[in-house]
């Protein structure tokens, strides 16, 4: 018997009992739907987070800040430490400490983070707005327009948070690119305000990471910092709230090792991965639970497949017996029934995925208009070909395995017993 004939006869047999087949297909479909939607959400969220971080090659950058004493478990008085005053949370990285950090063999590019505080920004409409901005170290943000701010050099550049485009008097993000705005900062010691100009090189997409922050180029950060520190005693100028550093040979094991070293010295080191890993963990936990539900649904469905095929074998005992008497081999009988279970799996999984795609579209619409409003580029449910293919293959495998029991019974059927009528 040719395979095409086997397939055709499997298909015909399947639809001889429509009700039974459809119910089984629905069971498989529910499992496929649950898993597809769940994987879709997982993809969507993780894809968004990755896009936000755009951390290709920046996995090695870490932010080092002195531990804030959060590890103090008791309120008992502590002994005085020359490097650590009573106001623990105001601890800075002193030049001496910085030197020590720079001497660490596992780190390179150790750079202090200046305390650069901007008073306001002012656009073409002359309204002044306060702004939260940070230097570009270790961060590539998701851009709506333009490019990232320069990480080196002296150019004064700014990547605006998207909300600032309109309020500063620009019509659109596109129009804002290349325009110059005023940035004002004042000296801590004298309160004297200085205004510098900065070129808008990019506009951010709204994001859940660094929400509302604008990014200023290293050059602008240096200028603002200079203004801030004008008139300060030299000793205070060189105190930094933190530092960034690049880990040499940044394998996960190495990064963990460096973190431990730094922790021993009283620092807290965070890579960008760390800042988002919490988010990922939550997403993965939720989707993990949902996938378990999907798997349970599939398990139940596989019993449906077994039951359907057992009934089919029983209904067609004579037919199978006849075909075997007419010379159909055991293997082909097995294949006929396996094809039936595979067809159930295929139809169920494809329908489940199509349904998931439809449902995903609706969910995305609802999400975009409600809790994800304004987060451009966040597609809640996202399907990738690989995951869709994986779901189909896994379900086919499950269906095949479920089908082997009844298919074996059919293959072993004795034609004589099947055809006996006395």
């Amino acid at each position: 018997m040719k395979f095409s004939d086997i397939l055709r006869s499997a298909n015909t047999n399947l639809w001889h009992n429509k009700g039974r087949t459809i119910l089984t297909v629905v069971a498989v479909m529910i499992g496929a739907l649950t898993i597809a939607i769940t994987l879709g959400i997982n993809n969507g969220v993780n894809d968004y987070v990755s896009k936000q971080v755009a951390n290709v090659g920046r996995k090695d950058v870490m932010q080092i800040i002195p531990s804030t004493g959060a590890d103090q478990k008791t309120d008992a008085p502590k002994k005085y430490d020359a490097n650590r005053g009573s106001a623990t949370d105001q601890e800075n990285i002193t030049p001496k400490k910085l030197k020590k950090l720079k001497a660490m063999k596992s780190l390179k590019n150790v750079q202090p983070i200046q305390d650069s505080s901007i008073d306001y920004v002012q656009g073409p409409n002359h309204s002044k707005y306060i702004i939260q901005a940070q230097p570009p170290t270790g961060v590539n943000v998701d851009l709506k327009q333009g490019r990232q701010a320069a990480k080196k050099g002296t150019n004064s550049e700014i990547v605006l948070a998207s909300d600032y485009v309109k309020v500063l008097g620009f019509k659109s993000a596109k129009q804002a690119i290349g325009k110059t705005i005023k940035v004002a900062a004042s000296a801590q010691a004298t309160n004297q305000q200085t205004v510098v100009s900065a070129k808008i090189v990019g506009v951010r997409n709204p994001s859940i990471l660094l929400a509302g922050q604008s990014i200023i180029s290293q050059g602008l950060a240096d200028k603002v910092s200079d203004i801030n520190q004008t008139g300060l005693p030299a000793k205070m100028k060189q105190n930094y709230y933190g530092a960034t550093a690049t880990v040499k040979n940044p394998t996960d094991a190495n990064i963990a090792k460096v973190k431990k070293q730094l922790a021993d010295q009283g620092y807290q080191a965070l890579t960008l991965q760390d800042t988002i890993s919490n988010l990922r963990q939550i997403v993965n936990a939720i989707t993990g639970v949902l996938i378990v539900f999907g798997a349970i649904a599939l398990l139940a469905a596989s019993f449906g497949v077994i039951n359907t095929l057992y009934m089919s074998v029983r209904d067609r005992t004579r037919e199978i017996g006849l075909m075997k008497a007419l010379g159909l081999s055991r293997g082909k009988v097995f294949l006929t029934f396996s094809c039936e279970s595979l067809l159930i799996g295929l139809i169920g999984s494809v329908m489940g995925i199509l349904l998931a795609a439809g449902l995903g579209k609706i969910l995305n619409q609802v999400a975009a208009n409600s809790f994800l409003k304004g987060l451009a580029g966040f597609t809640l449910v996202q399907f990738t070909w690989s995951s869709v293919l994986l779901i189909v293959l896994v379900i086919l495998l499950i269906a095949f395995l479920a089908g082997t029991l009844p298919a074996r019974r059919a293959a072993k059927l004795d034609p004589m017993t099947a055809l006996r009528y006395e």
């Binding site: 018997m1 075909m323 008497a325």
Partner: protein, 228 residues
């Protein structure tokens, strides 16, 4: 050389105290182109004998040779091929697939043989014509009368140009008029195409139309009539 011979066939069912001997040493020879009736009451072992001769069942002891070849060591794959291409089967209860058309039913052995397309269709149509059912070829098997169903069965048995047709009570479910039509078709094929007919029946009239009659009782041949 005989087409089919059996030598001391014993077939035992069950074990221990419930053991039952369906055949107790049956030896016979069937020549190419013969028509043979195996006659006996129900429970006499005649169906078991047919199943063993048709290689659907294995004897507990004894040997069968087909075209001079002993069959006990034939592999399953070859056995399937022999049953498909050398034998044709006609059953009392037809065993047609009720939901399929006449054509589909007749094509079944060809499908199993792996023949496809035009050739399959042509061979099946020729077999349907040989039993005079060309007009009904697209009807569903369930819509046919008993006699027509049995003609479909004969067409199905015929479609692979077999050497032997095994007919198990081919007229057992039919009235006498229809029986006659079926008998005529079978003997016609037997004569025209030199097909060997082995008919299991308890109908003496049908048996009398065969060249030889072999009487089975309690698993043994008790009488043999006709030329050999």
């Amino acid at each position: 050389m005989s087409l089919l011979t059996t030598q001391d066939i014993v077939r035992t069912y069950g074990k221990g105290s419930s053991q039952f001997q369906a055949l107790r040493g049956v030896s016979l020879q069937i020549e190419q182109g013969e028509s043979v009736a195996i006659v006996g009451k129900s429970g006499s072992g005649k169906s078991t004998l047919m199943h063993i001769m048709a290689l659907l069942d294995q004897p507990t002891s004894g040997t069968i040779t087909l075209n001079g070849q002993p069959t006990q060591n034939i592999k399953a794959k070859t056995l399937n091929k022999i049953r498909n291409q050398t034998f044709g089967f006609v059953f009392q209860q037809f065993f047609l697939n009720a939901k399929d058309s006449v054509l589909e039913n007749v094509m079944l052995p060809l499908k199993i043989a792996g023949i496809t397309g035009k050739k399959r269709r042509e061979k099946a149509l020729a077999a349907i014509e040989a039993v005079g059912l060309s007009e009904k070829k697209n009807n569903r098997a369930s819509d046919l009368s008993g006699g027509q169903k049995q003609r479909v069965c004969i067409a199905r048995a015929l479609v692979n140009n077999p050497q032997i047709i095994f007919a198990d009570e081919p007229t057992g479910n039919l009235d006498s008029n229809t029986s006659e039509i079926i008998e005529n078709i079978l003997f016609d094929l037997h004569q025209k195409h030199n097909i060997t007919l082995i008919i299991v029946t308890h109908d003496d009239e049908l048996a009398a139309k065969c060249q030889r009659q072999i009487q089975i009782k309690d698993g043994q041949i008790v009488a043999e009539k006709g030329e050999n």
